[in-house]
Symmetry: C2
Subunit: 232 residues, 2 copies
């Protein structure tokens, strides 16, 4: 049975979790569970409560998939949280696939799991990956050896299909795609910084500037003090 | 302040709710809340718990948006549930927009809210809309006067953008699209019954045949005994 651990944390972006989880739970013979320090519910970006199925202690050691969702506001304190980074470093070093969506890759990076790997991230935070020795990539889903990382938020659907194909084969992935009618037809074409109006890209960067500055400081702190497990 | 009520119910499909809610909560001056009979948490298709912010009693009478997510297994008992159909009929008759994603349109139909309207639904359940006097439409997002209905599951993203543009303007919608990097690039092209392999479409229909038969019976029962509010 596949063991799939999904990290949850306060202020994580709900869609980053629910998109991929929709696939994970349909991988057939699989145990896809939420994990956090303990089983006290966390409150997400949308104000919803999620309770972990496993605390870090009880989480299986050898995972088929370690998955980390994003959410910049929530990711900042986690990048400064030694306990969580140690957990990610430990399980990530053993996992068959180490994966993320959106700014989840910042947490993988802070845990030392992306050194020398190409990785995706939300377009706005992508360059922060350089701090972790990763190579930021603009792809929607970036596969580098056993690291599979998705771009911002909704990339979790393309990521989920990619992982479904890797673990269960292309036919299984296509069946899941048909089942959730994933035949996207966005009414506008503003979903990437390359094609959205320039002033919108600028405006969003300004809105998030202080959050991005905090994320940079947290990332630098994580690099100065890497998880015990991955210390050279 | 916009009043946006999102119905939740046992076994509802998580992504049907979380996709649109991701937009609703970023509509600016808006109160986007979950509603169910009472505030006892329900358990979703993915096994997660959601607690309503409002019971039917305390839910505001005049809504800007009434939204209903799908999930066929969960929709069947709700189509047989007079209390919920009466609630939908009452709030739907007054709401500025009456909306759904996936099989959520079956619940709108069972509440008498789609008579004479074009509406979308999950491709597999679409023809059931005929029972309610609605006109099944194959579109990803179908707008007919103040009814805005989305197709299966992931159509909730295209739906959310469409509603964002209707309520807040196209620029606001595009900003939201850029923020969640909604620039879909599915690795396969099997998300619609028209383009998926024929045998997959057949296989899925067979897998869901008994559930679909139950849904048909529940829909017929709802039509025989319409909500008090909409009785002619």
């Amino acid at each position: 049975m596949l063991q799939i651990a999904m990290l949850i944390y306060p202020d994580m972006f709900d869609l980053d979790l629910i998109g991929p989880m929709t696939f994970f739970r349909r991988f057939g013979d699989a145990d896809a569970f939420l994990v956090w320090k303990d089983r006290t519910p966390i409150v997400s970006d949308l104000g919803l409560s999620y309770a972990a199925h496993h605390g870090f202690e009880s989480c299986p050691k050898d995972l088929d998939v370690l998955f980390v969702p994003g959410g910049l506001k929530g990711a900042v304190p986690v990048m400064r949280d030694r306990m969580t980074l140690d957990f990610l470093a430990d399980r990530g070093a053993r996992a068959r696939y180490v994966t993320s969506v959106c700014t989840g890759s910042l947490l993988l990076g802070a845990a030392g799991l992306l050194q020398g790997y190409k990785a995706a991230c939300h377009w706005m935070s992508r360059e922060l990956l350089l701090l972790f020795g990763a190579e930021p990539a603009a792809g929607r889903v970036v596969v580098d050896r056993n690291r599979i990382t998705g771009g911002g938020v909704t990339a979790g659907l393309d990521f989920g299909l990619t992982l479904a194909a890797a673990l269960r084969g292309e036919d299984h992935a296509k069946m899941l795609q048909l089942n959730i009618e994933y035949d996207p037809q966005p009414p506008f074409d503003a979903g990437s910084p390359e094609r959205a109006p320039v002033e919108m890209v600028k405006h969003l960067r300004e809105l998030r500037a202080s959050e991005l500055a905090e994320a940079r400081m947290a990332a630098e702190a994580a690099v100065r003090s890497p998880p015990a497990f991955s210390r050279p």
